[in-house]
Symmetry: C2
Subunit: 724 residues, 2 copies
Amino acid sequence: MKLQAQEHPNLILTNTGVEKIRKELGNVPLLDASLEKIKNEVDAEIALGIDTPIPKDYSGGYTHDRHKSNMVVLQQAGVLYQILDDEKYAKYVKDMLMQYEALYKTLPLHPKTRSYARGKLFWQCLNDSNWLVYVSQAYDCIYNYLSEAERNKLETNLFRPFADHISVDSPQFYQRVHNHSTWGNAAVGMIGLVMNDQELIDRALYGIKGVNLDTNAKDDDGGFLNKDGKAGFLANIEEPFSPDGYYNEGPYYQRYAMYPFLIFAEGLHNVKPELKIFEYKDGVLLKSINALLNLSDADGEFFPLNDGQKGMSYYNSALVTAVDISYYFGEQEQGLLTIAKEQGEVLLDDSGLAVALGVKNGIAKPFSKKSINLSDGPNGKQGGVAILRNENIELVFKYASQGSSHGHYDKLSYSLYEKGDEIIQDYGLARFVNIEQKGGGNYLKENKTWAKQTIAHNTITQNGTSHFGGKYEIGSKHHSELHYYDDAYPKIQIVSALEKNAYPGTEMHRTMALIKDESFTKPFLLDIMKLKSNNENQYDFPYYFMGQVLQSNFDYESPTALSTLGKDNGYQHLYIEGKGKASSNNTKFSWLGNNKFYSLTVTTNNEDELFFTRLGANDPEFNLRRDAALMIRRKNSKNTIFASTIEPHGNYSPVTESATNSKSSIKEIKVILDTDAYTVISITTINDNIKLFITANTNSSKEAKHTLKINDKNYTWTGSYYFK
Amino acid sequence: MKLQAQEHPNLILTNTGVEKIRKELGNVPLLDASLEKIKNEVDAEIALGIDTPIPKDYSGGYTHDRHKSNMVVLQQAGVLYQILDDEKYAKYVKDMLMQYEALYKTLPLHPKTRSYARGKLFWQCLNDSNWLVYVSQAYDCIYNYLSEAERNKLETNLFRPFADHISVDSPQFYQRVHNHSTWGNAAVGMIGLVMNDQELIDRALYGIKGVNLDTNAKDDDGGFLNKDGKAGFLANIEEPFSPDGYYNEGPYYQRYAMYPFLIFAEGLHNVKPELKIFEYKDGVLLKSINALLNLSDADGEFFPLNDGQKGMSYYNSALVTAVDISYYFGEQEQGLLTIAKEQGEVLLDDSGLAVALGVKNGIAKPFSKKSINLSDGPNGKQGGVAILRNENIELVFKYASQGSSHGHYDKLSYSLYEKGDEIIQDYGLARFVNIEQKGGGNYLKENKTWAKQTIAHNTITQNGTSHFGGKYEIGSKHHSELHYYDDAYPKIQIVSALEKNAYPGTEMHRTMALIKDESFTKPFLLDIMKLKSNNENQYDFPYYFMGQVLQSNFDYESPTALSTLGKDNGYQHLYIEGKGKASSNNTKFSWLGNNKFYSLTVTTNNEDELFFTRLGANDPEFNLRRDAALMIRRKNSKNTIFASTIEPHGNYSPVTESATNSKSSIKEIKVILDTDAYTVISITTINDNIKLFITANTNSSKEAKHTLKINDKNYTWTGSYYFK
């Protein structure tokens, strides 16, 4: 179903855009540098010669890596042909495409069988789709360089069957709301746009006509294949993004999905402007870029919510695309130019040109990240993720929905950072992406047995079982609820949320605040975890601190031989390095991490057990890091509260060997009052200043007026909380 | 005994030097920046007011830190008075000195009793000496600002009794060859130079007249107090420095001792030029600076030989002194200017001015570190330390003497670095210097039970006991011997040494080479550990690799509960995380550290046991890091050989998620021949290239001609080794 003839290139590059770029060559440093870099890479590849090996390997193996790098080189060579008008690049693209044409028509399914949807060039359709997203751009760039016969040959033997394989032949992969499908949709849609094939474009936008999957079937990762029967690119925008632009799988997968979302959207914008894709769902694609950038630490590394590999950052090339597109199609936010400068490259298209010109013209401003609350769920009604920021301290608080198949069972969990260093870590995933020696670079079984389990996270595990029994079907039905979020007052950034479904019959209510107070050198975290239950339970509450133990105020036994904390649900991976009991109303613990000092103070009673745990048991392949935690175990409790502070306070220099401000400023914290309506915490500093924090557990609106009598004194305030 | 009147300042600053600096003010960026920095610091201190608290604390406590910071501020304020000619600084110094005068004459011994030589301001004479080294400079700067009566008061009640306390009253501290004594000598000598007191100067240079210590007595660290009866500054230059400038305790303590050595030397040069102190012992003080700079990794961090805290680097202020003095009193080596630039400051004296001018004039060149072999021992006859450097790989090989009381029992041990990251680590010390929470910031008991033990190091432990039975008295009598060292051929850097005394009846002969070969992307380490013994022994041979296990080619059991590898000699601190047997002639093991890939290939037999160990057992205070090792155990062996290669090869980016060159290039290594005269190793690459390495075990001179028949082929070469 061919539509009427079009100009080429028209997908990402356009004829007028190419004209503009050519005019500016040599005058815009960031553009020139990006061009130079790509030119060097492509020239080196051309010199090496073309290799399109017969597919054989998993990720990390030669054939996988070769086809992966070919797709990028093809896309780049196409761009170089357009911008430099040098036929050698067009010829290179054509020669390689013809080699692929010859190869592809002979290919059976990829020999590796692990995927639920095997590709042909790669072991999974996902990677085949990656390939087509890049290669369709290359094809567009040399479209007019090819004869019609050549185009027919490619389209008939390579592109069309390729698009069919990843879609109609692999509906379990294609016909879903999932990042995998987004790649599939974009691949089919982009080649459809270049081939001007309405059927493919429709298949991309709306899914395969008439195909409905079993709504109970699951994929490799344990996620539902297609619970709601929705499919296609638009559904993939509709469903996983909240109105704030939060992507339900978390930033690591958002980064991965970002490229097909944005590059296909750019193509749609250019070829089908009438779709107004960047205005779709209230402009959520552009909002999502802002959300993603805000889901990174001070070093630009994404918070490893759910399955996220640490170290992934906005220096990833997908974020070059995101930043440039956000700037050009959005509101030319000057902070983005600073990130672009740090990225050191721009797209070689209209958006990249605009960014490079902005940087050249010196209008970049710092990209300032503030506290932000991002709702989750298609309508923003399924909890969310709050990032509290106060000076150099960042808190990531998760009260979201399950997060699809990449979600972890970690309701109301958090992680804490100082200047990009982890103070209290989230483990992230158990995987070494693309490192073949580690399970082919794929998810390791410890991802399920450890990383997803509740005990791997900084939240409550009740009776040794994970939230929702660790069951995806149940977890997917629920989400936590925001109680309140308030970032209005710079000295106190605060969020409060409830979880009522993780353990039926138990309600968890967590309030977390980053407070800057004159008695403290740095902002500290106040954490109130309030539990209500119909039954007596055992509550385990770990702190995955990063660093070396300095001091604690309780006695503990140190076993000479290490045994595990439990048998299942993640506990089988934890050794007990120390076991003791709380010896006072406040358990204190301090550590040194990244040459900075930290202190925990937590309210405990003398029945509370304390464990030093060490990860790594039942891990014969050494897939897990040997990380530590301090864990509080409170048994036989119905309603209870864990109130704690974590103070970052000072630093150590191994060069001057000086330890500055190495001690906690807190003498005592106390739960003064804890009712259905209010929880009141007092914090006494070492200088005997007493601070009072009150949170409203029920009527928490910003306008609510409260009066509360504590020790014969009346406290009156308006809003969700009181602190003085 | 006052000598005739002198000009002041004359110790570090001189009148003519001050004139020159004043003239250049505002014109020499590095000098101006250094002055500005000091001025800001001192002005802030002046604003805070003077505090000279009654001594009370250990290191890390307030009174300790306050007196420590006072001494620096006094010295700086003195310099500011001279350079800026602003009386407010002189008055500040005078006021504080008078406060110290009033305090000091009331002081008993410091209340903390842990030191073998208690100070008065500080818990140990060592810190009192630090104080006087700095404060004598301040006194010199304001000498002429004070009236004679004021000077008399200070000298009579403060300086003279202060100098006496750390010397005649504390001979166990002062009358030694030890870095502690060097500080004591310098303190007494510098105040002597300012006071123009020949008795103090002589006491500094030659020790306390007529005092001889028990040659068998020991200090807190287990070192002999004074085995040879030598004392005084000159003896402290004579003894610990080898002719190459290697300091026998290692770079960490050399850095600590450097400041008193050099600053007192500069004072002697200025006041007593006839002593020609910088020419003493063939100019060893200046040579020692070059040695020290070479004992640092690519980041400028010192190799943690013996008791050395990791992270100490040439950014330490003692090294600002060292670099400036080396430049000015040495041969104006332009590479030093680059280090000075990185340090970002210079001394405010003639030497600092010269360096700042050099930097200003743009004559700085990169400081290039090459392979270097540093002899140990006063006459360079007690083994040594070799640093092999090949591209970005650095090997630190220790075949030195015991290293005084800070020495470890680690003959023929090594550590390996890539661009400043550890590949195979040396543990360093078990101490958190100046972090009060960790044993007052002092040595922890695990320093003896773990860090000093042989099993904590990358060398052979025989029958589960440390070298010399872990006995300092025995270790101090012996040293390893250089067999040969050759850095002439850039592609192969090599060192070979013998140890005959660590285990009586056993001879260890280790040959280590960093080899760059076209079959490998990076230089690799070839390591031949050859053992000859009269008895059957158990040899334990660990690799303290840094990073995450990727792959191994042997089967092992992973215990669910962890038990220790042994009961004593450091073994009690190691858990067994895995235990197996070598399953082929080559045991292969690979790991990922700092996002770089490494592979070990080592010759094994099928009786060899293999252990994955994890540090941290019997460590109730969490004083030890949880570091890993792979250990080979060969039992019932007399003569045997461990031949291995460690290949750095490739890297991983968590941003692009690409793993480059992640596999070993070696198919097999073999010991082809091993006789008293020769050891021959073949290395077969995955492309079936065969490399042959031959080392001459006896006649290893550079001129020796060798012919050796292997498999009917004759190999002929000249020199210590053959490689092709």
